[in-house]
Amino acid sequence: DTAVSQTPKYLVTQMGNDKSIKCEQNLGHDTMYWYKQDSKKFLKIMFSYNNKELIINETVPNRFSPKSPDKAHLNLHINSLELGDSAVYFCASSYLLGTSGSYEQYFGPGTRLTVT
């Protein structure tokens, strides 16, 4: 079974549309993350949830809204898509330090978003 899964893997859409990316982990982790990888391959944290509570909210346009219905799921909704939103978005999960001896982050396969 896939540990961290994301859907869809590819997303092509037009400017101004609203889209969502879904993420699910079956590792029992209590913390999930969204990272953005830009065209230069640079990876940067966007959001993080711990047990459904938002704990990291980096400087991201408010068109991006994460939602965590439970600790195994973290979705990313993007409103009014812009050309600059084109990137690969990675979901990841881990145990938050102090709650378990395992602290590695496991990544999903990524979603390549192309805005035309």
């Binding site: 990675f90 102090g98 396969p109």
Partner: protein, 119 residues
Amino acid sequence: AQTVTQSQPEMSVQEAETVTLSCTYDTSESDYYLFWYKQPPSRQMILVIRQEAYKQQNATENRFSVNFQKAAKSFSLKISDSQLGDAAMYFCAYRGWEAGGTSYGKLTFGQGTILTVHP
């Protein structure tokens, strides 16, 4: 804020040879974790090796080993007996020790190093 720097945008190695990828970081924390991730063309992020800052012993995973110099804030990755399948982009990443504060376990990545393996 923590920063991670990979000064080698590209590296190449002959199959079966050894290559070392460099990484330096800046932090005011005394305890933290460091990682190397591999991203092949499939774009999947694969954990290669990890190092706890409180451990003096360098981590080793089969053909992969690190040279962790805490005072110098340096964390290089050595790949021995390079294989064609090692060709990928390699990222160095930092994670703070604390569960809370400004960290909450987030990874701060370097810019990445593209490794080419020649047959």
